[in-house]
Symmetry: C2
Subunit: 211 residues, 2 copies
């Protein structure tokens, strides 16, 4: 949303001198209160200003980008997660690579009985181990995976934005979406959020189609 | 930006009956023109409605998400691209994997003299070839890479949104940013856009910090 010059001026006045009434702003600009009403309404409804009866207008401290951020923060992990692809600790590195290609994913989650998360194995982990070893069928994934509790995960009711932020901060390609196991022991994997998920959401937000 | 109930109603009226004047809308709602003025101003300035003097209000056909999309479309490849990491066709698969780990990237661009793009090699390509082969030092990257012209790329003045859309449509993790070579023969690699780039842009838009 683009602000007009007059709206920018009002924003600056309120920022410097708020709380301030509509009448006082009008006076400063040599305009009538009625002339300013649409501008003040726009600034208030779009979230740039806060208004309190009998006190006046406050600067909300939010920029246009922050308001856009508020929109983004409403997207949730629950809406965007995709199905997790899993293997077991005993799965061989060879079979893990095959699963990765067959399912066309970049990260496998390692689980034990009941879907309880025990580790994560990435394309990078598999590439590293495939360089040094002759017989990929003889090494179990459990040996090369990143193991709990050193795994960054997210939960269903988290925002997609927070998940994206974790991907960047921790330099990982995927997060398991987890919930507490019913047994009370560990967490269950119920989905995955990857950089592909975020890229798709970005395309959707832009009005494009993400297949 | 959240619309009020009255603004939603106005939007529906204009959608169904536009072009329509402010007076006519006011009449339909049993309100005065003055009461509606702020709402009409908000809807026009935020892009939901178009207004033409002496004719009336039109529905712009844009939804809130489309307006957000307009903001996104302003982000450019030029602003967000990162440095490309390259190798030559003669580089061995072994050395390519080492470069990938050392530079911490998921895709290498293969170039010849003058930085002219000849191919792309992904972590997936390297993983595949490392599975079947004993001696990774003896295979050149030229044998396993995706070769021009089968490479999806983007240009400096393209929007980041279009680049994100190409990543998804073509199921690749990275795009080379290219420009026509001065020699007139082929394209030169000047940057890269990856799903990490898009995820960082997403975090930034949301007001977070992407390191």
């Amino acid at each position: 949303m683009e602000l007009s010059k007059r709206q920018e001026t009002i924003l600056r006045i309120v920022k410097d001198e708020g709380p301030i009434t509509g009448e006082q702003i009008a006076e400063k600009l040599n305009l009538t209160r009625a002339t300013l009403r649409p501008d003040l309404a726009i600034l208030t409804m779009s979230g740039f200003l806060d208004a309190r009866p009998r006190v006046g207008y406050f600067y909300s401290g939010k920029t246009g980008n922050q308001l856009l951020g508020e929109h983004l923060r409403k997207l949730s992990v629950k809406e965007y997660k995709s199905v997790p692809v899993v293997c077991q600790e005993e799965t061989s590195v060879y079979d893990a690579i095959c699963t990765m290609f067959l399912e066309d994913v970049g990260t496998l989650f390692v689980v034990r009985e009941g879907g309880i998360l025990t580790g994560v194995v990435s394309r990078k982990d598999l590439l590293k181990s495939s360089m040094g070893t002759r017989d990929l069928s003889s090494i179990p994934v459990g040996v090369i995976m990143t193991r709990m509790p050193n795994i960054v995960s997210c939960e269903l009711d988290e925002s997609l934005l927070e998940a994206a932020s974790k991907l960047i901060r921790n330099q990982v390609d995927a997060l398991p979406v987890v919930k507490d196991a019913e047994s009370g022991d560990g967490v269950e994997v119920v989905g995955r959020i990857t950089k592909t998920t975020i890229t798709k959401a970005f395309v959707e937000l832009g009005g494009g189609e993400a297949v």
